[in-house]
Each structure stands twice: as structure tokens, then as C-alpha cells.
């Protein structure tokens, strides 16, 4: 009886620990700034990296992803801010004293060493015995599916194989954090897709914390547990791929991640947790709190959330003219144009009934499918630059 109780307690606490450990903070960045001369590259970055997670830094080229990674690796020193690992200061540690390893974008395999020696390098530096090194190298070569390649030299491998060796060379040291800077950037599309799956598999199997840098949003969405969206040195949004995609908090995130339709509007009415939006070409509802009357906002609606209504539709909607259909495999992209010239993307599964080109329709969305964001603009309709009404509206007159 007592035994069973103990067992259950043990089991329960284990489960609890497993759940808890997912949220255990490993690396902590607080108020990190990095300046090169007058060029501020990373701006007041606050970030908790959890133990065992796959965290992705996502953003356009030049937004400071590599710099952030290099600060964690120890190749760059922050201009200000604090950085800890397991609560210990990290900033004053040399790169070779950090239990953190990097997979470089150029792989940086030592050209004068065999694959075996490349992988063994980190272990040798830790003064591990030769007899202990061998099985470790062989085990990791098996993990990256390159058993028997130890005797070759880097220049005798293909790009994809070198990439795996670079990963193996870092992973064999069993780092607390593995940093990867666009590791798949040099591979062709097919190999990249395959490596995405494999990297994720390795990360799960080994339970090592991955900090992954990419400018490819699709890659970030498929691989990550959490995504940090960066833009010109700022952290724009931090969240799970779902949150980032479904609930973008800024215009930048909405447009950078996936395809979306972005509309400018003013708040016409504030209800309990819903707002009425006044667009240039119509009225529509959206979910949202903390908005003020007459405030300028953006509404972001994903193409797959846009709906067609007939021309005599009664709900809040926007009139538009269908311009064209683009068939992409199993989906159809439909482009429609609003009276002010803005193009709207609508996505449907192929086979679904669609209005024909040149047909006048009413576009609408469900309030919960629109993401409403504060705009930093103080003038309305800055979004639409080239107003070209096209022939379709002349015809419909």
C-alpha cells in the first residue's frame, strides 16, 4: 500500500518535473545592446531561452540575428546588458570556456584535418582520452548518418555531408546550447527540407537547446518551439509558431510571416471585446481590446480567412472585383481588387466554387479571423501607394 503510494508519488513528481523542465530558463539576456561605432545593431534585447527548446531567431538580413548569436557564443561582447547561463554570468567568459557550440554558416571544417579529427577536436581540447574519444566520434557519425566517413577530408565531401559533419562536430561535445547560424542556407531546396526534418529529429533525441538563426519564415515555422521575430535590432515578437502566425502583434510580423492582407482603418466603435473598423472601402468587425475611438489601426487577415459573399450580401463587407485565379497545386489563389485599387489575396482549396474573373463580389471575414494592431502612423491610408482602378470598374459602371 505504502509502496504503491511511493511509486505513484515518484511517478507523479517525475511527470511534474518533466512538465516543469520545459519552462526552466537556461540562458537569460537582459537589456542587451550592441553597437558598432554609431551603428546600433541589437537594441535592448530581453530574452529567456528555455532548457531543451528549439528557439529560432527570425528576421530579414541585417536585423542583428548573427550578432545576437555571436554574443551568446562569446565572439562579440555586448555594449551593455547582462547575460547568464544557469544563473552564472556569461559575458566575462571566453568562448573556449563556454559550454556552447556553434554550427557556422560556412561550416568552418578544418581543411587540414580528417573528418575524424575534426569531430574529435573538441573532445581532445577537453583532454579526453583517445580510447574514450573513438566511440563518441563513431556514435555521432552514426547519428548524422555518415558512418565510415571518418578517414576522409572535408574537401572530399559534398555540401550536404559537410553540413552534417559541422553539426556532428558541435554536437559531440554535448553542449548546453547549440547555436546554428543559417546552417541550411547553402543547400538546395530538397536537401534543405530533408535536413530540417533531421535537425528537428536530432534535437528531440538529444534534448539539447537549439538556438537557430534563419531568414526563412517557413523554416522557422516548421522547426521551432518558439520564434523570436527580429527587425532592425528590435525584438518584434516572441511566441510559438502558432501565436506568431495567428496573432501577429505588429505590422512587420504580420507581413513578414506568411502571406497576409493588410488594411488600414480607424476604430469606429469600441464594444466589450470587439471593435468596428472603418476602412476606406467599407466597414468590418474585428476582435480587440485596448483600442481607442478614432485610433488608426492595421487589420491583418490571412488569405485563407477571406470569404466571398454575393454582390447583394447583407453583413459588413467590402465590395471588390475578381481579377484572376492562380492555381498552385492543391490550392487556388484568387486576386480581387477593392475600389481604391488595393489588391486582396484570397486562398481556397482547388475544387471549391469560385466567383469568375470580373465578377463583383463582397469580401468579408469573421471578426475572430482579423488581427487588429496599433499603427504607429498618424495619417490614414499611407498603405496604398499606386491607386490604379483598372478597367474592371469602368466596365461595371
Amino acid at each position: 500500500m505504502n509502496d504503491q503510494h511511493d511509486f505513484l508519488f515518484f511517478k507523479f513528481s517525475n511527470v511534474r518535473r518533466m512538465i516543469m523542465s520545459e519552462k526552466e530558463v537556461l540562458v537569460k539576456l537582459r537589456g542587451i545592446n550592441k553597437q558598432y561605432g554609431t551603428n546600433q545593431v541589437v537594441k535592448d534585447l530581453n530574452l529567456d531561452i528555455y532548457k531543451g527548446e528549439f528557439l529560432t531567431l527570425l528576421g530579414p538580413s541585417g536585423c542583428g540575428k548573427t550578432t545576437t548569436l555571436r554574443m551568446i557564443a562569446g565572439f562579440e561582447t555586448p555594449s551593455s546588458g547582462e547575460m547568464t547561463i544557469n544563473g552564472e554570468d556569461l559575458i566575462n567568459k571566453e568562448p573556449f570556456d563556454r559550454n556552447i557550440n556553434t554550427v557556422f554558416q560556412s561550416y568552418a571544417l578544418f581543411p587540414h584535418m580528417s573528418i575524424y579529427d575534426n569531430i574529435a577536436f573538441g573532445l581532445k581540447m577537453k583532454n579526453m582520452k583517445k580510447a574514450d574519444i573513438k566511440p563518441k566520434v563513431e556514435e555521432i557519425l552514426e547519428l548524422v548518418q555518415l558512418t565510415g566517413f571518418g578517414g576522409r577530408f572535408p574537401h572530399q565531401l559534398s555540401g550536404g555531408q559537410r553540413q552534417r559533419i559541422a553539426i556532428a562536430r558541435a554536437l559531440v561535445n554535448n553542449p548546453q546550447v547549440l547555436l546554428l547560424d543559417e546552417p541550411l542556407g547553402a543547400l538546395d531546396l530538397k536537401l534543405r527540407k530533408q535536413m530540417q526534418v533531421e535537425l528537428k529529429r536530432m534535437q528531440k533525441k538529444l534534448g539539447i537547446t537549439f538556438v537557430y538563426v534563419t531568414h526563412d519564415q517557413e523554416e522557422a515555422l516548421t522547426m521551432s518551439d518558439r520564434i523570436v521575430v527580429m527587425n532592425s535590432g528590435y525584438l518584434e515578437q516572441l511566441g510559438t509558431p502558432d501565436e506568431i502566425y495567428e496573432k501577429p502583434r505588429t505590422k512587420f510580423v504580420a507581413t513578414f510571416i506568411g502571406e497576409t492582407n493588410l488594411f488600414e482603418a480607424t476604430i469606429a466603435q469600441v464594444d466589450e471585446d470587439e471593435v468596428l473598423l472603418n476602412f476606406e472601402t467599407g466597414c468590418m468587425r474585428g476582435l480587440g481590446k485596448d483600442f481607442e475611438l478614432d485610433e488608426i489601426v492595421y487589420a491583418s487577415v490571412r488569405p485563407e480567412k477571406m470569404n466571398f459573399g454575393s454582390s447583394n450580401f447583407y453583413k459588413p463587407s467590402m465590395p471588390a472585383v475578381v481579377k484572376e485565379h492562380i492555381y498552385i497545386g492543391s490550392i487556388v489563389k484568387c486576386i480581387a481588387m477593392l475600389p481604391n485599387g488595393q489588391e486582396v489575396k484570397i486562398q481556397r482549396l482547388s475544387g471549391e466554387p469560385l466567383p469568375k474573373p470580373n465578377e463583383v463580389i463582397n469580401l468579408y471575414w469573421e471578426p475572430e479571423d482579423a488581427t487588429i494592431m496599433h499603427s504607429r502612423e498618424d495619417t490614414l491610408f499611407s498603405l496604398i501607394e499606386n491607386v490604379n482602378l483598372g478597367g474592371a470598374y469602368d466596365d461595371s459602371k
Binding site: 557564443a73 562569446g74 565572439f75 571566453e94 568562448p95 573556449f96 556552447i100 557550440n101 556553434t102 557556422f104 560556412s106 568552418a108 571544417l109 578544418f110 581543411p111 587540414h112 577536436f121 573538441g122 581540447m125 577537453k126 574537401h155 562536430r169 558541435a170 561535445n173
Partner: protein, 271 residues
């Protein structure tokens, strides 16, 4: 068909004129060397030495009875080795530093490096002599070595910098990332990767030192190097034992060239 022939000459077969041209160039280059070798086996004992009067090893035997000539050769080797080691040390540090760090006046230093290279040797010789007189270092082996270091170091730096321009500092970051401290990083990664550059720079410094006459002439004091000894003896025609030593030196350098061509420096060709 004639047009076809003219527009697409057969590039795999050498043209007769081309062959003759190439042969004459090689003749021009190698005839003097051949004459030296031939004369080292020339049995002619009276001046002019140039007329060939039968085959002999006599000069090679005589050579080893000529302590002045042999010791001059010893001096040359000593100066060459010492100055090569020093200029390679200085040059490597300079080249690595200039590759790695950005600092004020770097381009000025870069440009200044060319001056000892383009300056007429006779001026460099006079300048060095003045400096040695000024700080009153007695002329001899020391001044010879210092002077040779002065003129060969820029060449070592140039050779290494050309080599380093393709060298990615990421390798060093990778080494440190894997736990190697700075000394280990240099020993296991930097040095092996730049070694071919160091060796070719060293070889250049060595050859520059071994046949230097002009600068050595100003700073040698009473010490005679082999080229100076040859210059001295040439006033009365080229002595046959000088030919013999020259032939031996030729043999040595040809050996080194063949050795380097046949894969001693293979890693240089690879990357």
C-alpha cells in the same frame, strides 16, 4: 576549308616557329649554367680558363683544399639560415597581425613595406652602413644578418599576406568554440593552415640572402660570403674551383626545387 583552317588552328600541335622560339629561350637561360658546369670539369690550367682541354675532377678536389672559399660558403649558409629564421618570425607576426586587426595607419604601413623592396639595393646598403656606423656596431656577421633580415622581411610579409588573403578567420573562431584556448588555436589551426605560406616566404628569404652581393658588400667588414669571394676572385677570371662550388650549389638548389615540386608542399596546392 582554308578559312576553317585559319579560324581554328590545331592547338594541340606546336607550331615550328613556336618550338624554335621556345628552344632559343631555354638555350638563352640554360647555356650560361651549362658553361659553368662544363668549366668545372675543364682540365685547362692556364688562363684563359674558358678553353676546354679535357675532363677532370681536379677542381672538386682542389675546392676542398681552399679553406677561404669553403669558409666563405659557410658564412653564406650561416647568414642565410639566421636571417631566414629571423625574417620569417618577424614577417609571420606582422602578416598575421595585419591580416587580423584593423587599425589606424594600416594602409600607410602597407605602402611603406614596398619601399625596401623597390629602393635600389645600393642605397639600402649605404643606409644600413650609416646606421651601423651611427650606433657603432662593428661590421661582421651580425651586421650581415641584420641587413639580410631588413631586406628579406618585406618579401616574407608579401608572400604570407597573399596566402592569408584567402584565409578565413572563422577557422579560429571554430577552434575556440570547440574549447581551444588562444595558444592551442594557433598551434592546431592557424599555424598548420599558414605553414605553406611561411615555408615559401622562408624559401624566398633564403634564396635572396644566399646570393646577395651589393648590400653585403657594404656591411660585411672582414667577413667574406661566397658571392663576395667570387666577386673578388673574378678580377682575374673565373677560377675553376669557383665553377666547381657553383656546380655543387646548383645541384643543391635544383634538388630543393624538385623536392618542393614533387609534393613536399602538396597542401599548398590543395586548398
Amino acid at each position: 576549308m582554308i578559312f576553317m583552317h585559319n579560324t581554328r588552328p590545331d592547338r594541340t600541335r606546336p607550331h615550328l616557329i613556336g618550338t624554335l622560339f621556345a628552344c632559343s629561350i631555354y638555350l638563352f637561360l640554360f647555356l650560361p649554367i651549362f658553361v659553368v658546369i662544363l668549366n668545372s670539369f675543364n682540365a685547362n690550367k692556364t688562363k684563359p680558363y674558358a678553353t676546354f682541354k679535357g675532363f677532370t675532377f681536379e677542381w672538386y678536389i682542389k675546392l676542398f683544399d681552399n679553406p677561404a672559399l669553403l669558409s666563405s660558403f659557410g658564412n653564406t649558409l650561416l647568414v642565410a639560415f639566421a636571417s631566414t629564421v629571423l625574417s620569417v618570425l618577424i614577417g609571420t607576426l606582422a602578416a598575421v597581425g595585419m591580416h587580423r586587426y584593423k587599425f589606424k595607419g594600416k594602409s600607410a604601413i602597407d605602402a611603406l613595406l614596398y619601399i625596401p623592396v623597390v629602393i635600389p639595393e645600393i642605397i639600402l646598403g649605404i643606409s644600413l652602413l650609416s646606421v651601423f656606423a651611427w650606433v657603432s656596431i662593428p661590421r661582421g656577421l651580425i651586421t650581415l644578418i641584420l641587413s639580410h633580415v631588413a631586406f628579406s622581411t618585406p618579401f616574407v610579409i608579401f608572400t604570407l599576406r597573399a596566402r592569408l588573403s584567402g584565409y578565413d578567420l572563422t577557422f579560429e573562431e571554430a577552434a575556440m568554440d570547440l574549447g581551444a584556448n588562444r595558444i592551442k588555436t594557433f598551434a592546431y589551426v592557424t599555424l598548420p593552415l599558414i605553414l605553406p605560406g611561411i615555408l615559401s616566404g622562408g624559401l624566398l628569404a633564403f634564396t635572396l640572402s644566399i646570393d646577395d652581393v651589393i648590400i653585403s658588400y657594404f656591411v660585411n667588414g672582414t667577413v667574406k660570403t661566397f658571392p663576395l669571394k667570387v666577386m673578388e676572385s673574378i678580377k682575374s677570371g673565373v677560377a675553376p674551383d669557383v665553377n666547381a662550388l657553383s656546380t655543387l650549389i646548383l645541384l643543391g638548389t635544383t634538388g630543393i626545387v624538385l623536392l618542393t615540386q614533387s609534393g613536399l608542399f602538396k597542401s599548398e596546392a590543395k586548398s
